[in-house]
Chain length 308, copies 4
């Protein structure tokens, strides 16, 4: 059987304690080395950059391009640019700089204006550069703002809870946003460190339900701990010794973005609560309306004698 | 077997009468509480906002930004901005405000124009802000206009109709728009309230056909009521007692949007017609052409002795 | 078994000869009646409109909006708009009209310029309207130009060709464009008219291969005519009597558009060639390079004794 | 069984040596002939054109459109355009040309400005053309920059390596970029030339794992060479005689692009290393952090007695 899985690479060996594989923000805890600058994709970097970095880059590029064109205008004769004469070189340069800004943004007040053929040619070129450059800048800006993303709330702890005469591993998710997600799909992998030499192992954890059509309320994702489960018969101490971490991938279709969105999460052995079950996070009010309490997604109650 | 399904959350208990789960416009009848402002995504809110709200926000932002820049220009010396002098402070402020508008929109008539370094610097910055800001506004505007959506017409009533020596639950859909939808897929869930304590249950209703390739005419979605159906042997009175609601998800690929689009709908127990079958909603005219009558999607005729 | 299929609607009855269901350009031969104007989606109509219609609408909207604003400017006092005075009313109106155009396009030469508060307010509003309106127009223009589409060349005739000791229905496709399509998928439906009363029937035709990963050359789509095929033992005359039409849906992933694209086609009984097989449409030249001859996609040769 | 596959076209016959089917950059080694200019899609060509070609086309179009409008303005009376008079025809034409540039880019300094009805009409039209045209140019520019693409690093050589008491064909991939790819899927086809007459054959090579959920490290794609494998019992010499080439398609979901991306690659018989296995390309440092060394994706070590 060909099972989709996280690839072990066949050769992973570990010595000593491991950091978690998936950070709480969904990123992977992996440092990359040996990459080449030729593989850098400027668009991807600018889309993923922080807001201060992005805005600084845009603003700096604006200053640099204006300065470069100002140098060109400054090098032309004064008769080329109407209205930019000034008593000092600095004043003339600043006027050239502002003429450049008027041109690059296509605002073109006309207080400074090209009269000679050279200045006019440069300005005609600069206006085109401005339109193209701002299209890139604004496209990136809008791409950042409209980038599809999901905001899935995970219960802070996974539970080992009773389930149909046996035990189960459960966690609960909720849509933190009010937009509509449909066709959710969950995939779980158990990551352990075991064997001699110590090797990372990845085992898929089958779910009671892999998909739900609708997601207006909460979804309790349930892995039944039956005989076939790698968690069967394990104690909390054993999971700690195995440095167990449950890796989670949630996929959904976002109706507003009209795109597939993803969320990653993980629970480590010390984030699993044994012998508990989730309390309902929604209720029906007197009018028959359902009320979802988003911030109660992690609420659970202890149960006695939870089967393991 | 892992069946995709609406998740019961394992713990839903209800007391008393329920409102319908899916409203007639496809939205879920769920009120959300306990959400955090940090989970609000401005893009999603502006895309989903009503048109009056959206246009008001854009127009207000335009006024506010112009006012802020006008205050800055007003605070600069009069020598900084050519043509904005006026007999009164109000007149000067209004000229500064309009100069700001000329700059923000990059219209730049030049009747008002920056001459000093300070005004020129602010104006160069404002023109950039204008280009970036209007890119957001127009991107949102176009995003709203071009947002993929389907307009599926559902028959107002579902029918319990004879089907191959047995009974079936049927409803009929039509594409209310003239653009091409292909690869339609339908998913049905029966929601009931039963047991002690009263619990919501969700059962998938298998279909005679889950998918059709083409959708130029109507599609009659058929759930055969055989022994394995949760509707088998049920009377209208029993469905009412169970507060039965059939939840429907339709997916399709829209050729014009080049995107997957969705439609949701539901039929409650009191929207099911017993012992009827749909009348054809299209005909062949004398030239052999098919004619689809979109507004007849819900037409049905009574049948005697409809098997249940 | 739930087989995806074209839905018969259960009640289709036909009398007399039928036009083909899918036209040669891939559109469906269905006339729609009873649609409501409330279901019209302006974006979809403007994206699908012909080029002359689209450009006329854009140009007309430009004239109408300019005229409306010109009427407003004309109604204001002459002192409000610098440079627009003229000996005649017509001249004044034209100047107002052109001032409006300078503002709507944000070109703003300044030869006409607002000086009064009223004209300035209207112009500030018009510049915003211009930016928003042209964003819609240019977004639609670019949406039309960049709309994903496939240009699949189908062999003009389908063949009944020998295939592994039996017969088969074959047709051949080629990518008419040079961009890369991957993961092609083909679906075939046989549409017939039979029974009493005459009813349309749709039967899926299973394929020897439903998908190919790559599509640099041609793909010969093959339906084996074995005992389970609805075409088994049929003669050309019988297919004519059944008014048989093979409906085809091709899906592919376009690498340049990064989107799924589709093509539809159909072969009627009189477009099927009996006892022929496709000639190769590509060759290997002396250097070991493959050469694809796109225009030979439909070339076939007669075979004697083609099994039926 | 209907297996997805590369289509043989049923009739491929080859004489002599073949070039590789998939080039190292992922393109297909196929020359296309007999295409029609009517099937050319300008958008696809401009998106796929080289950067120098694209920029030249944009710049040339800018010059051509300006020249055309300059000719129109030049043909109008001198009284129509304020400020464009000059001692020579050349000077007047250049002024008209620059006025056109000021209008097309909507920079509109006003140093040249339309005063007559004819010049104003042409300028109003040109400003609209400029907005629409630059929308196409900038849309194409941004479409090129933001085009989804994957940069998958393949090990330069595929290995025949031991795998669970048998042999296997392996290659290793890594994400050369730092953005997140999820849900990778690999498909392998073995292409051989054999039989009389010599015919190309394509056989799917099943994988130990077809999909992985996450891809933060490397993925070693493994085809087990068991009895059912077409590589079973083959020697390097036999693969050379068969001109064997392993065609590879990798699909993944790119989180930043929110799109499916692809990569193609192939290994020819002379790019397969017999009796070797990959060395780990990542390590765990003292803090338990994983460190991926991207440039070591191809590193392998010889193994003695590699089973074939």
């Amino acid at each position: 059987m060909q099972k989709p899985s996280f690839d072990p690479g066949l050769t992973q060996q570990v010595n000593g304690a491991l950091r978690r594989a998936i950070n709480k923000d969904g990123s992977f805890n992996v440092e990359r080395r040996g990459t080449s600058w030729r593989d850098i994709h400027p668009y991807l970097h600018l889309i993923n950059a922080s807001w201060p970095a992005f805005l600084s880059i845009i603003f700096s590029a604006y200053l640099v391009v204006n300065t470069l064109f100002a140098v060109v205008y400054f090098s032309l004769g004064r008769g080329e640019l109407q209205g930019t004469d000034a008593p000092s070189s600095f004043g003339r340069f600043m006027n050239d700089f502002f003429f450049s800004a008027h041109t690059l943004t296509t605002v073109g007040y006309g207080i400074y204006a090209p009269t000679g053929i050279e200045a006019n040619s440069v300005a005609a070129f600069e206006a085109m550069v401005g339109l193209m450059g701002f299209a890139l800048a604004t496209g990136l800006l809008f791409g950042r703002v409209s980038k599809p993303s999901a905001r899935i709330g995970f219960s802070p702890r996974a539970l080992v809870a009773p389930y149909q005469d046996q035990s189960s591993l459960q966690f609960r998710i909720v849509n933190l946003r009010s937009n509509v997600l449909i066709e959710l799909q969950a995939s779980l992998l158990l990551m352990t460190v075991e064997g001699t030499p110590l090797t990372r192992r990845y085992t898929a954890l089958p779910l009671e339900r892999e998909r739900v059509y609708f997601f207006p309320l909460t979804w309790t994702v349930v892995h039944p701990i039956d005989e076939s489960s790698p968690l069967f018969g394990k104690t909390p101490e054993q999971l700690q010794a195995l440095q167990a971490e449950v890796l989670i991938l949630i996929k959904a279709f976002d109706e507003t973005f009209s795109q597939t969105v993803n969320a990653r999460f993980s629970y480590r052995y010390d984030e699993i609560e044994w012998g508990a079950k989730f309390s309902p996070a929604f209720k029906i009010d007197g009018d028959g309306d359902m009320i979802l309490e988003v911030d109660r997604v992690g609420e659970f109650a202890r149960v006695e004698a939870a089967g393991r």
